[in-house]
Amino acid sequence: MSRHGKEHPDRLQEFDTLPGGDPDVPAPPAAAAPAGVPAPVTPEVVTPAAPGVVDLVFRSARLGVDAATLMAGEMADFSVRVARRVLPPAVAEKPLDTVDERLEQQRRTARERGEQSVEKTKEAASAVLNQIVVGVVDMIDMEQVVDHVPIDKIVASVDVPAIVNEIDLGDIVRESTTGLVGETVDAIRVQVMGIDLWVNRVVDKVFRRKQPRQYALDGYDVFGAEIRVPKEMR
């Protein structure tokens, strides 16, 4: 309250006269307001404007400054390292450590700022580019452009029957159907295999069989099974 009172005394008075009184509590909806009292106006949501050319220039300059700061930090760091080698340790150790700490802190800050600047510059560049593209497109009279395109000639040059002939629709339909049917059949087979094994297990349990079943057929190879192949397939 004091904050409001200090900065906007007349505003404070206005709040106090409103139903509810306390400015921190949101005003009740318009329907609940007594007759004759005007409903509070909800403030419009203002979306921030997209960055423009000025922003881009400013942010680029900022990025340059950040880069220069970073570079100066690196140079100072290099100087400290040189000083450490040149000066006797008893004299230079303490002051150089202090300088080193400060330099590290400054470099960290500069790096963070630099990263932020890069992001902001990218954002501004992209916004400016978008504005330019939109502006250019708006300037173009599309109808006039379309009028100048020889669509009839383009369509006439396309050999539609040849394209249709190249697309083997029958093959596409056949392949997709075969795949679908094959997968369905496989799914049914797997289910039935499961039931087969389950029945066998139940029977084995009922008869308390301890010897396992002999499922494998010695000498049978699924991939190289000896079969009689029809003549036309040889």
Binding site: R189, M193, N200, G219, V222, F223, G224, A225, E226
Partner: protein, 180 residues
């Protein structure tokens, strides 16, 4: 075009002895096909007869015993042709099964015919499958035959008589025209 057997369990079970449910369903499908073949046969023959020797067309309805007998023989011939050639009928192809001898070799035509006859005349023999350690039906025990899971289609097999008893190789395919 080839398609892999994606299910691991199914891939492991290829070449293993099949259970009663797969075999029963395959036989049910075969009986259905035998009925269709019989119907088409009767309708076709009578139509041809009427076209050649009669002035009116009608589909006859044979007496029950004659139909049963004809369906029986259609079934026997159909099963024998399937088992004697690729080792499977359409029903067995559908369920991914194959009939082979106990030594993993294909059935001879005589064995195929006898097995088909025995199966058609007394199919309940299949009920022995879950009780047998080697998953054999009564017909299998009598003729020393085995029914195995085998999803590999004929077109995907080597196009020559390959010696049996070679170890299983690359992942199985369920359809395709490539040489495996």
């Amino acid at each position: 075009m080839s398609r892999l057997i994606r299910n691991d369990r199914a891939r492991q079970l290829q070449g293993q002895r099949a259970g009663i449910v797969s075999r029963g369903l395959a036989f049910a499908a075969d009986i259905g096909i035998a009925f269709v073949v019989y119907t088409v046969l009767v309708a076709g023959v009578s139509l041809l007869w009427d076209l050649l020797f009669s002035n009116k067309v009608e589909i006859p309805t044979p007496p029950g015993w004659a139909s049963a007998l004809m369906i029986f023989w259609v079934l026997v011939i159909y099963l024998a042709l399937g088992w004697g050639s690729t080792g499977r009928t359409i029903g067995k192809q559908l369920l991914g099964l194959r009939v082979v001898r106990a030594d993993a070799r294909p059935l001879t035509p005589r064995q195929a015919f006898v097995r088909a006859f025995l199966c058609a005349i007394f199919y309940p023999g299949i009920l022995w499958v879950p009780f047998d350690r080697r998953c054999r039906s009564l017909q299998d025990k009598a003729l020393k035959t085995v029914v195995v899971y085998d999803w590999i289609p004929e077109a995907a097999r080597p196009r020559r008589m390959a010696p049996a008893a070679t170890p299983a190789g690359p992942p199985a395919t369920t359809s395709g025209q490539q040489g495996a």
